[in-house]
């Protein structure tokens, strides 16, 4: 928070300039204040609200569908209704959409040209950009938890509809895996968005590049593709089933560390539109 002025009376300042000297001594926004601003920005525009709303609609929609199917599924498989299975269903859609907040965090200010006033008020771009990444991750975390609750609600309802006992075992592991996966995807979105420089290119890059690579690489590179397959590595890391950290680590470096470092470096220096 800003606030305290420092005593300047000891300074030999022209009295007419004293108010200015006082204003110059005021503290600037702390990192936490900037984080608060960036968190507000993730929900204070129509576009950003719609993205989060779409995520929740997808989560609730998938659960509603599963609840209607529960009774018939239980007839062929009595153990069908479990929290982990329902969470997987919820996060299939959520994981696709939610990480886009990472892309938006790095591109919106340039695409909407608000970077001009943002960096005028807080000239330390590193402070703004790091707060943006933190805000995006917090939004991913918060929304994921809400989606997990939607999954829990869906499971409870389905168990009642199908008249089977509520099976919650493995639920927390599934939530952890989903949150880690979504966060990794969001970080990749941060990197690709920052590199792309505009919302449209960033969103397309986020959807096309990793998936395209995962589909094409095994054909081109054969077994060697596991070194570079980002989506495959994210999944293994999220599920805690990584058998080879060198492979997964390399893929994570290529799809997250490298784009984030290069992209954020670019945003730090970029001329404003």
């Amino acid at each position: 928070m800003t606030g305290g002025t420092e005593t300047l009376e000891h300074l030999d300042v022209d009295p007419a300039l004293r108010p200015l000297a006082r204003a110059m001594a005021l503290r600037g926004p702390s990192w936490w204040t900037v984080l608060r601003i960036e968190l507000r920005k993730t929900v204070d525009t129509r576009a950003s609200r719609w993205l989060l709303l779409a995520v929740l609609i997808v989560a609730a929609g998938s659960m509603a569908y599963e609840v209607t199917q529960a009774r018939s599924m239980v007839q062929s498989d009595p153990g069908w209704v479990t929290l982990p299975r329902y969470l997987d269903t919820v996060f299939d859609g959520v994981m696709l959409l939610l990480p886009v907040v990472g892309v938006l965090a790095m591109t919106t200010e340039w695409s909407q040209r608000t970077a001009l006033s943002t960096f005028t008020l807080v000239p330390r771009r590193g402070r703004v950009l790091s707060a943006k990444v933190a805000a995006a991750l917090l939004v991913v975390l918060g929304t994921s938890l809400v989606c997990a609750l939607v999954g829990l609600g869906g499971t409870t309802l389905a168990a009642q509809v199908a008249d089977v006992p509520l099976a919650l075992e493995g639920g927390s592991d599934a939530v952890t895996a989903a949150v880690v996966m979504t966060s990794l995807m969001a970080l990749m979105g941060v990197g690709l968005g920052a590199l792309a420089g505009s919302t449209s290119v960033g969103v397309v890059a986020y959807f096309v590049l990793p998936l395209g690579f995962s589909l094409a690489a095994p054909r081109v590179l054969g077994d060697a593709s596991v070194w570079l397959d980002g989506l495959w590595a994210f999944e293994r890391v999220a599920e805690g089933t990584t058998t080879s950290w060198p492979h997964a680590g390399t893929a994570l470096a290529v799809w997250i560390a490298l784009p984030v470092v290069l992209g954020v470096g670019r945003c730090l220096r970029r001329e404003l539109p």
Partner: protein
């Protein structure tokens, strides 16, 4: 208060700003005038710490913008009124600035009122006209209660009534000890608002001084019985002369100099007046041909 010292900015091979120097003092409104592409916006962006100068420096109260701890409390900037998120409300736009500068959030409502947007605060900026965005941009610059205002083309999109409103607001701000620097590519827009002018063309300062001095220095207009004789007499006296389409002669000199030269040559004058209305024309000349050597002479303030 604002000090631009030998500022130069290159983009690749393009020289956008070429050794620009000027100062703005508290209590004054300075017009930064020049055609589009003259380097005004680039200079203001360097001043606001958004762009690094290739050479020279820009300071506010002796401090470079990036060194200011809480810049919004010292200097309020509106660098582009159109650069607002269309999906955000006007009130929210100001609230973000209030949080960043650490002023009480009650200032948001006050500033909306000050710029006449109190009824539009809850509407999204996408629904605003350009004139309303200018007002919002000015409010955003004012939120931090700054001592300096820097506005890039603030009159753009304002109707005559809006321009008059802005004139009053900036006058009040300057009368309260504030420093104002505003840019424009139209002299008529700012002529009644500013005390001082810095005219740029092709990245260089081509004329600088108090508005009144610049008006006075724009020369005299003379009509005589014998136009050719008059031109010859003035040229013989070493004065710069330009014939105009209506048969009068424009001379870059004082009325006394012209009167004496005419008297010496025995020329009869029918009309001799200070050319106060010529500033627009002067501005046009200065900026169209910025490389003329005499244009580097600044008029004494």
């Amino acid at each position: 208060m604002i000090s631009i010292q030998h500022l130069t900015k290159r983009f690749g091979r393009t020289l956008a700003v070429d050794d620009v120097s000027f100062e703005c003092a508290p209590g004054t409104v300075t017009g930064f005038l020049g055609p589009n592409g003259a380097g005004k916006s680039t200079t203001l962006r360097v001043l606001a710490g958004l762009s690094r100068p290739s050479d020279g420096r820009a300071t506010i109260g002796g401090v470079a913008y990036r060194e200011l701890r809480n810049p919004g409390r010292v200097i309020g900037c509106m660098l582009d009124a159109a650069a607002q998120h269309p999906g955000r409300t006007g009130r929210e736009t100001l609230l973000l600035a209030a949080i960043a500068t650490g002023v009480p959030t009650s200032r948001v409502g006050q500033m909306l009122e000050r710029v006449g947007l109190q009824d539009a605060g809850r509407r999204r900026v996408g629904e605003y006209s350009l004139g309303m965005r200018q007002r919002l941009g000015i409010a955003q610059a004012l939120v931090g209660d700054p001592h300096v205002l820097v506005l890039d083309e603030p009159a753009n999109g304002l109707d005559p009534e809006g321009i008059r409103w802005m004139r009053g607001l900036l006058r009040d701000f300057a009368d309260g000890g504030g420093t104002v620097l505003l840019s424009s590519h139209l002299l008529a827009e700012v002529q009644a608002t500013v005390d001082r002018l810095v005219v740029v063309g092709g990245g260089r300062v081509v004329r600088e001084g108090a508005l009144d001095d610049l008006l006075r220095a724009s020369g005299v207009v003379v009509r005589g019985l014998d136009a050719d004789g008059l031109v010859a007499a003035m040229t013989a006296a070493g004065l710069r002369v330009r014939r105009r389409a209506d048969g009068t002669v424009a001379i870059d000199a004082s009325a006394e100099q012209v009167g004496r030269a005419a008297h010496t040559a025995g020329q009869v004058l029918l009309e001799l007046r200070e050319d106060g209305t010529r500033l627009e024309e002067l501005f046009f000349e200065l900026t169209v041909a910025p490389q003329v050597p005499t244009s580097r002479q600044a008029v004494a303030a």
